[in-house]
Symmetry: C2
Subunit: 394 residues, 2 copies
């Protein structure tokens, strides 16, 4: 099957990953991360957005070697929990390079973060701002606003953020309580396919920051959150278009004032570094009139492919029956499913995948672009299957 | 909030669980399983279906003490993987009491099961039947048929089973290959709310078994699969109605021939034995005009509440602000969400939950009926949150 990865460096990465898989033959299913690709992706984002602070979203892939590499490259980190703080600090991040960006925090977790030196927090509620004032006195706080995240594969709904009016009041409250009202955060939706998807929220942030500066407060910062996309079966616009759109949007809405800018990419840094190797468990038909084969892999929705829910993310695939490049092998349509006894553990019924007619149990199916939101999602033991193992190549 | 659990024994179970929680104060979130309730539920099903072989679906809750208790009570086991076979045997099950009921099996997993003494398998494809003949020679095989699972909360779609015509042919093939063509299996859909939900599939099974017996083969068995429901916010019909409907359906469709009958309950045995204790992390509103509070718990979809997807399962809830019985506390509508930075980690937006207006961060919210399909589903480390811990009370 043809992959969408045209890029030369990604071919080199695939070659490194395949060499590892062929030589070490790890148990399947497993995720293999090509660390040079992680470094490349980070460097590309830094080059495209040179004046923007890059906070890697650890939740996308908390593999210690990935975090350590990014710390060494000078990345900062967006963390969701005390365990992610510990991981970053253990792998070389300075506490001032860590943003505790989860607005939903227990008071004791705020205190823990503060005790470990974390001084930057994202909030979206009065309760949390008051807890920060009590347990992280003097810390900097960004207020997260609700945004309309049209154009993204995963719009964020209303779970995070508050209205711009409430965010403005909460920044005032933060200042009253001795916190630093640093600015505004938002999230334009994960795997945002529209380079202009940040524009509306940047406009809202500029209004809030302008209003508070006019009142004598000194918010300086806009946190653009996540959303930078990765290539899957469908390729998003190039990174340069995102950088241009975001840069223009900030200039347009902020005018004379030049804000500090943060961004929290996760998927865009790690997705394309990863390949999941799976084994075909079963190829079958359900009836004599069935037009599509069912191909069951040894990985499914509960083994790390949670993002196949609703078929939102469609991974490019390559099989051990694909043959050498430029030689076509006969293919046919398939339904792809996972190995558990759970009826929802079906990966793709509507997305059109065509795999070699010769595909058999024991063959390999590699899922490409699978470095983000896979291993850490996997169930601890559903149906008795172990969580997805991760291996890194250098 | 009023729970739907009227049953006296369940009140006793709740008292035991609460005593444990109050005394041991385990870290939240956690699942507490009341083992006497597991024993009661198993005994109730055995009493309602006295001539039916009960195979506990280990996937519903693989806690070793639960498996051990059921083995001691004389249950058989439905397993999905080699790890579940090992668990059952380690906890006292005899290998002949284990059915490897996952139709999706690697050849080496079939060989492993056979090596451990397992002699009963469910299949739904030619490839698997041939693999059984090769790696588990002489074993008994049930062919799973596709069914229309109307009436269930989780219809099984087409992932498992094959057409009755194909199943008939595959039982013939099994006999030719030296396997025992034991009979027919199906699954009427999880949390089946219609006591007659098994009838259509029993009719199909009777036709297949009758046809093969007329040809001189000796299939004897119908495996009714899972689907027996548990009580959540909505109460299903009583177990006796299911037993009566199933018994009548078998008599009606099988006529003079009395088949051996197996059933694979999971949820119906363990759901009501379990309480998840969670802590309120945050109570907030998103705007000044918001009519509903958002209540964020320290457990969400990725911490063990996977069955809240689509709000399919609605757990009864009790909070530490509920007050003593017969004393009403003022309540109001809420949206319930989990603690991760994932926008899909929202538990209930459409199901109407009303929780005390006084609910605050640090209070407890107990999710009742949470013993099935929770702990083993939880993510290994998503967002840095650990998997759900399980404790048992006796």
């Amino acid at each position: 099957m043809t992959t969408s990865f045209a890029d030369e460096r990604l071919h080199e990465a695939m070659a490194r990953i395949r060499r590892f898989l062929d030589h070490d033959r790890p148990e399947t299913p497993c995720l293999v991360i090509d660390l040079p690709t992680v470094r490349d992706r980070f460097a590309a984002i830094r080059a495209a957005l040179p004046r923007v602070g890059i906070f890697y979203a650890v939740k996308a892939n908390p593999t210690p070697d990935v975090v350590g590499l990014l710390a060494a490259e000078g990345s900062s980190f967006d963390v969701a929990s005390p365990a992610e703080i510990d991981l970053c600090l253990a792998r070389g991040a300075a506490p001032e390079a860590v943003s505790y960006s989860n607005p939903i925090k227990k008071a004791r977790d705020i205190a823990y973060a503060h005790g470990r030196g974390v001084r930057l927090f994202v909030s979206d509620s009065e309760q949390d701002v008051r807890a920060l004032a009590e347990h992280a006195p003097g810390a900097s706080v960004l207020l997260r606003i609700l945004v309309d995240s049209n154009g993204s594969t995963y719009p964020f709904g209303k779970k995070f953020g508050c209205s711009p009016e409430m965010a403005t009041d909460l920044l005032r409250l933060a200042a009253e309580l001795g916190l630093v009202p640093l600015g505004v955060a938002f999230h334009a939706g994960s795997q945002q396919l529209d380079p202009n998807g940040w524009d509306g929220a940047i406009a809202d942030a500029a209004v809030i920051i302008g209003k508070l500066r006019a009142e004598g407060l000194s918010p300086t910062t806009v946190n653009l959150g996540g959303g930078l996309p990765a290539g899957y079966l469908a390729q998003p616009p190039p990174l340069a278009e995102y950088a241009a759109a975001i840069t223009a949007s900030i200039a347009r809405h902020f005018g004379d004032f030049t804000p500090e800018v943060m961004i929290e990419p996760g998927r865009a840094i790690v997705a394309e570094s990863g390949v999941i190797r799976s084994e075909v468990v079963l190829v079958s038909r359900k009836s004599y009139s069935d037009e599509r084969r069912w191909v069951f892999l040894d990985i499914g929705r509960y083994g790390g492919l949670a993002e196949t829910e609703g078929e939102a993310i469609a991974y490019p695939m390559a099989t051990s029956r694909d043959g050498v490049p430029q030689v076509d092998v006969p293919v046919g349509p398939v339904v792809l499913a996972g190995p558990t006894c759970d009826a929802d553990d079906v990966l793709y019924q509507n997305t059109c995948y065509e795999l070699p007619l010769e595909l058999r149990a024991g063959d390999h199916v590699d899922l490409l672009g699978a470095g983000a939101y896979t291993a850490s999602y996997s169930s601890v033991a559903f149906n008795g299957f172990p969580p997805l193992a991760t291996h890194c190549v250098r």
